[in-house]
């Protein structure tokens, strides 16, 4: 298994070319305000070609070391002066060995290692030992230090507990989610997957064959939390500490499954209940559910002369579960893996004492009509636009945002990539925007309560 590393990521859309990162780098690395010493170079142009074919659309670009997994600069070095650091993942430059031949610069197609004439040798980004100066000063959040690589290290030697080749749709986010989740939860678990995409893709198996390496079962759509509660009771009775995990769709959570869920939460049953929210009944052919947002096209809220998609708003299940005062409640998105992992850890721990609820937003390429390759991008924009928000809650701590809701991208940026919103009128978009604003305001009020207490 390969190793994942932390990296600096650049979000071009957010960069305004201010150059603060370059100044910070030059100061950190050379104690100078001259950006010639910066190992990160932001590249702007005054003359956009406007021709997309010319591969220069005038966008802001970046040159810096990508800390390649299979670095050519290292291969090209005749003096063993560059090495890939197996622990940190950075490519380390060793001054004592460098002979200044510049062959490393021949190997790099990113402008990531370059000759600095002022100081007479090559320089490159060293990620500031995991605390990059550039990221810290970026006022727009265009630079981020992405630490999700460490997740892969954490789980890479853990067994993938679902069979290979689950029959999920292309680009399905749930398969990614369940593989990650089970790897982390481990084998001492009983998994409940109520009817929906998750068992539909074969997790419980077909025709007498199982889809997982752990005990797994189909509850009814309606009784997941209750069945898990019963299982847990018996294991507690015989003195065995077994984790209870539900992987449920939003219908089995917020609609027909809500009563048993609410009851189990009230009784503080020890289980980790995960809602994989794809905003509808996708397994049965994209019908509308209680978590389908207003305006959405679904097969039961079609678009026509008399109806333009769903007429009512979605309910905010995570908030409802917070009002149950569960041991732990959190929302998550797979575009923010490290955030998810942190919450998963907390949820597993909380489920040892009581009810833990994780609401994972799961955009569905098939049902929402967007290209399969865009799933994570849709996940990301869903969060960045505040359409959904990332937070967690415990009774002691209260609500805490794990990602700022300030400076959201425009709602339209999120909506425009998704087919089920293609027909939206301006008024409908405005409605969604208002709704999102209200949600954020209301959650912020809870956050303030947290701060006060």
């Amino acid at each position: 298994m390969g190793i994942g590393y932390n990296t600096i990521t650049f979000n071009q859309d957010k960069c305004d070319g201010c150059g603060d990162c370059m100044l910070a780098c030059a100061q950190a690395k050379a104690g100078s305000d001259d950006i010639v010493h910066s190992r990160i170079q932001i590249l702007t142009t005054d003359q956009p070609s406007g021709d997309p074919q010319a591969s220069d659309s005038g966008a802001i670009e970046l040159a810096m070391c990508r800390q390649c997994g299979d670095p050519k600069c290292v291969s090209n070095c005749p003096a063993a002066a560059l090495t890939k650091n197996a622990t940190t993942g950075t490519i380390d430059w060793h001054a004592d060995k460098c002979v200044n031949c510049l062959l490393c610069t021949v190997g790099c197609a990113f402008g990531g290692i370059t000759y600095n004439a002022e100081i007479g040798h090559v320089t490159k980004c060293d990620s500031c030992d995991g605390n990059p100066a550039c990221v810290k000063v970026c006022p727009k959040g265009a630079l981020e230090y992405n630490t999700s690589g460490s997740i892969y290290n954490r789980i890479s030697d853990k067994d993938d507990l679902f069979v290979p080749g689950l029959s999920a749709c292309q680009g399905c986010n749930s398969e990614l989610l369940i593989r990650h989740t089970l790897r982390n939860v481990g084998t001492n678990v009983v998994v409940a997957t109520p009817p929906g995409c998750i068992p539909g893709m074969g997790t419980v198996g077909y025709n007498g064959k199982t889809g997982t390496k752990v005990p797994v079962f189909h509850p009814l759509l309606t009784n997941t939390a209750s069945m898990l509660a019963g299982i847990k009771k018996q294991y507690n009775r015989v003195g065995r500490d077994v984790t209870m995990l539900a992987l449920a769709g939003d219908g089995g959570v917020g609609d027909v499954g809500f009563q048993s869920l609410s009851g189990a939460a009230e009784r503080n049953e020890q289980q980790l209940f995960m809602c994989v929210d794809n905003e509808g009944y996708m397994n049965t052919g994209m019908q509308s559910s209680g978590s389908t947002p207003a305006g959405s096209w679904t097969s039961t809220t079609p678009v026509g002369k008399e109806m333009q998609g769903k007429r009512t708003d979605a309910k905010n299940m995570a908030k409802i579960m917070m009002m149950h005062n569960c041991e732990y409640v959190a929302t998550a998105s797979l575009a923010f893996m490290d955030d998810y992992y942190e919450k998963l850890d907390k949820a597993i721990a909380a489920s040892k004492h009581g009810f833990a609820y994780l609401h994972v937003y799961a955009p569905c390429p098939t049902g929402w009509r967007f290209p399969a390759a865009d799933t994570i991008e849709v996940c990301r924009k869903q969060v960045e636009s505040n359409f959904v928000t990332l937070w967690d809650f415990t009774p002691e701590q209260g609500l805490r945002f794990t990602r700022s809701t300030d400076n959201p991208i425009k709602m339209a940026e999120y909506l425009k990539q998704i087919g089920k919103y293609r027909h939206l009128s301006e008024a409908q978009v405005e409605h969604l925007q208002r709704r999102v604003n209200d949600q954020v305001r209301s959650l912020k009020a809870f956050e303030q309560l947290t701060e006060v207490s």
Partner: protein, 431 residues
Amino acid sequence: MPHCKYLIIGSSHAALEAVSAIRMQDTEGSLTMITRDSHLPYSPTVLPYVVSGRSKADNVALRDQSYFEQHAVEFVTNRSLSSIEPDCNTAVLDNGDRWQYEKLLLATGASPIIPPIPGLDKVKHLVLRTLEDAVALRDASQKAKKAIVLGAGLVGMHGAENLAEAGLEVTIIEMQTQVLPGYFDPQAAQMIQSAFDQHGINMKMGHKAVSISPQSSDQQNTGCRVELDSGETLDADLLLVSTGVRPIFDYCSGSHLQTDQGILVDNHMSTNQKNIWAAGDVAQAKDFYSDTKVTTGILPDAVEQGRIAGMAMSDDPSLKNYSGGVPINTYTFYGQQAISVGTSDSSSGPLNGEPTDKLEIELTVDSDKGYFQKIIFKDNRLQGISGINAALDPGIMWQLILRRIDLGAVKKEFVAQPLETGRRLMSGTWR
């Protein structure tokens, strides 16, 4: 009979890169690397710095012993390949050992050409290709006073600078009228040469050594006298022969491997014989600009070819075709940088004979500042860029050439600022 899945001959850039490519795909298949060298792998390119003392001979290894253990590589030193029997997948070594391979990579590189100058074989002369050569040259430079360097290619120029810095009186004899032909045009070459002139190096350009004899006065017979085609004679107590290199493939005789200047290979570095690949200085592979096959003799190409060979040998599904050799040179002399990527001279090399109206040459020179920049476009595509003390990223330029990226819309900007424009273009391409 020893047997292995992958047998690699040679232990330098092409060989090492092939090994890492194989191990990405196949972590277990038995792999043996055999070299005639007696050291841990090192690069010939580092040798000038061993001569100058900047690098220590025991600190230049590209891999340490633990690498071989970690990657399940059997590393055999002091053994050279002497013949191949492709019909029975057998490689025969100098000690008579017969190795059975499933896949064989020939990465034996090149060795210095010793020109047929009468008398050269009678005098002590030095070359620079191995670590032993470097140590010998370094020792000799500490004793000698006057040096003659035959050839003003990369090795000769590096050698001359080193020797001069060590305090010797140095003369370079070069048959051609310019230094570093193939990488720089005459004008740029002249700028480089003038730095050597300024540092007191005697440049005998356009001259041939016609005969060489031992220096009569010298008791220990270390000195020599070189006679030029002009009749002039020069004495020296150190003679460095750097008149180019020739691929090592003597072991091919009788094997039916197709060879020319090197071992002929296709776009996957595969030879005409089943299960045999060749890469690096020893291989003669596709030229980027023409349909001919060439030996490039440069390190980045050895890496590139080694990678492709390794991927092909281990059936890596992401194997791509070799895009063809492009001349590339990064050369530091007296603290200055000369960089050349691709064609540097339209009057020689592959572009020679192109209708001139198709070529666009952008030249910027500031002799006072020692600044030179030459860009050659054809159909708005970059063909080559060379510069002295001009900032550019050769890796980016190489990609712009290989990908034949249309620079029509940004040409002015590119000519004014090749560094920034190149970076921006490639950043956009990579995203």
